[in-house]
């Protein structure tokens, strides 16, 4: 599905199985006593990315883990599969790098989800 290989913090990521992108104003909403919705926006039109990989090898998992480690403590560069570069941070709301490991015939397969958010 990817047009180009995604690159996170200088690390070229394995081919992404599923890529979700959301774009919205960041802030809070509240309903007033009359039922009206009011919105306080702290950042306009920010992107949030959810990257899924299915059934990767352990070597690919280690590549992703390395990229995650580099991008969770500070903002880094991210080239998306659509070949657009953003500045992002991993796990913006404390999400974990989600890894599921399954096995078949003495082999292990890694299914991974990572969340990134634009600065």
């Amino acid at each position: 599905m990817a047009n180009v290989d995604a690159i996170l913090a200088g690390v070229t990521l394995p081919a992404i199985s599923r890529y979700r992108l959301t774009r919205m104003d960041r802030g809070g909403r509240a309903k007033t006593a009359s039922g009206r919705v009011v919105v306080s926006i702290v950042a306009l039109k920010k992107h949030r990315f959810t990257l899924d990989w299915l059934n990767l090898s352990e070597a690919d998992y280690l590549v992703i883990r390395n990229a995650y480690d580099l991008s969770q403590a500070d903002y880094v560069s991210f080239r998306s599969p659509q070949n657009i570069t953003y500045t992002v941070i991993a796990s913006p709301d404390g999400e974990e790098l989600e890894v599921q490991i399954t096995g078949w015939k003495n082999r292990q397969y890694y299914t991974i989800t990572m969340v990134l958010e634009e600065q």
């Binding site: 104003d25 960041r26 802030g27 809070g28 509240a30 309903k31 007033t32 006593a33 009359s34 009206r36 919705v37 009011v38 919105v39 306080s40 926006i41 702290v42 306009l44 403590a73 500070d74 404390g94």
Partner: protein, 493 residues
């Protein structure tokens, strides 16, 4: 009424207390705080105010604020009392300040088994009142006498005390931030007391308030300050479209059918010895010593220091003892120097002068005539006694404050608390607003007395409290050279 806004924040901290601010905006995770003051006249019953506070949560994953890192701005608490400002801009507009203060000690959130967000630092920030709270001051006698000679009001006295504490007219306060004083007070002094607490009491003795505002300016607002703004157009109308909840509260804390106030005028007493040390002083050859003479009352006038001295063998050394004295209102610092080559074994010192004496001797009462209180044993009267403020010294103060408070306190005080308003950094204490909640009451008039705020990734929101002034007299006052005596205009107490 705005449905949405875009918030930009700016947090500046002068970590080195050098006048050079560091922009910490990108590290700001959350700011939460509140500012509040007394309703007009309310200070008279409760002079003690509170120092406003704000709590900042800053990102610290890189340990920039590690207290054990020599390059950290908080290393060895170097950032204690660092000046700090928080501004907000809406929709790309101009910056508007929502808090000015000084940083207290930081609190750290480090990794622990049950902590989900390690790597943050929490800063307790207090308004600039904090600096004055810990500043202790003793008034020079010449200052006290000078204030008396010009019949200084609370305004002039507060300004002098601020200047003596090192604050500057034009930057720390301005002519506009200091309302005219309302009562000339014969005597005002401090004796090793907190400048802030004394300014609070002094302001309260006229029904006014003294505080550091969100812009960092010290302000004195007198009893009539709220009447100096245009009371026909509100700064905003609080409606159900703007808040999540509004709550009218009828407070009976100070409810009273009768108000009793007292004043303590002061006058010069009989001349005599104001102070002498408990034991004779001895001074070695060439020795200097400073004695602190703490007086029971302030001195209306100092007459001088008398000194006699003798050597161990009984020789008169009085001429060899030099003295210099710094006279404060209620203490004197006497420095003695023995210029002789012999020990002055017994130096007798006496500070003479005229004490300033006074006691509560003027009392005024004002009783409610409302039918509200005519319910016999089922609603016995409540007396509100207001005593003990040393700056209430004249009958004129009581003549104004007593009926004013009677009218304020004879029915439960109505206040409005509105929660979760879309943040507006321009809101200020004392703003004239309308409350139009549309269900239980017709439109009401009120003054903002408290503003709380939260600023984080969930946006900028405020809670407000406002005292209801609908039934207070605040329109059609008598204007000199304009109103007619026979006309409908009224006098303000």
């Amino acid at each position: 009424m705005a449905t949405s806004h875009v918030v930009t924040k700016r947090l500046l901290i002068d970590w080195a207390l050098s006048g050079s601010y560091t922009d910490e905006s990108t590290r700001l995770i959350r700011a939460e705080g509140s500012v509040r003051y007394s309703a007009p006249g309310g200070s008279f019953t409760q002079p003690r105010n509170t120092v406003d506070r704000m709590t900042l949560t800053l990102e610290n994953k890189d340990y920039r604020f590690n207290p054990f890192n020599p390059s950290s701005p908080v290393f060895q608490n170097q950032g204690y009392h660092a000046p700090c400002t928080l501004d907000v801009a809406l929709n790309g507009g101009a910056w508007t300040r929502i808090f000015t203060g000084v940083v207290k000690t930081p609190q750290y959130i480090v990794a622990s088994a049950d902590e989900s967000e390690p790597g943050q630092i929490s800063l307790d920030v207090r308004s600039r009142d904090e600096l004055l709270l810990s500043h202790r001051q003793s008034t020079l006698w010449s200052d006290m006498a000078g204030l008396k000679s010009v019949r200084a009001t609370e305004r002039g006295t507060i300004i002098l005390w601020l200047e003596r504490a090192g604050y500057v007219n034009g930057s720390d306060f301005t002519s506009a931030s200091m309302d005219p004083g309302q009562f000339a007070r014969p005597w005002a002094w401090q004796d090793d007391e907190s400048t802030l607490e004394e300014c609070w009491e002094l302001a309260a003795s006229a029904g006014g308030v003294f505080y550091a505002d969100v812009d960092g300016l010290f302000r004195y607002e007198n009893l009539t300050h709220w009447l100096r703004q245009e009371l026909t157009t509100p700064t905003e109308v609080l409606t159900a479209d703007g808040y999540r909840r509004v709550q009218p509260r009828f407070l009976d804390n100070d409810l009273a059918s009768e108000v009793v106030t007292e004043a303590s005028p002061r006058a010069a007493g009989e001349p005599g010895v104001l102070w002498e040390p408990e034991e004779p002083v001895s001074l070695g050859a060439g020795e200097s010593r400073t004695l602190i003479a703490r007086l029971r009352q302030p001195a209306a006038q100092y007459l001088g220091v008398s000194i006699t001295a003798a050597s161990a063998g009984g020789w008169n050394l009085t001429a060899a003892i030099q003295s210099s004295v710094t006279y404060y209102a209620q203490r004197a610092e006497i420095t003695l120097t023995n210029t002789d080559t012999a020990l002055a074994a017994e130096v007798v010192v006496a500070l003479t002068g005229i004490p300033l004496v006074g006691r509560p001797s003027i009392e005024r009462r004002a009783e409610s005539s409302l039918s509200f209180w005519q319910k016999g044993k089922f609603r016995p009267g409540r007396v509100k006694s207001i005593r003990g403020n040393p700056y209430v010294q004249t009958a004129l103060q009581l003549a104004v404050m007593t009926p004013y408070l009677r009218d304020r306190l004879e029915t439960p005080q109505l206040t409005w608390a509105a929660q979760n308003l879309l943040g507006n950094p321009a809101r200020r204490l004392g703003d004239y607003v309308w409350v139009n909640e549309g269900q239980i009451a017709p439109q009401r008039e009120a003054l903002l007395t408290a503003i709380g705020f939260r600023l984080d990734k969930g946006g900028f929101w405020q809670d407000v409290e406002a005292v209801d002034i609908t039934d207070w007299p605040h329109h059609n006052f008598f204007v000199l050279a304009t109103s007619q005596v026979s006309g409908p205009d009224q006098l303000f107490y």
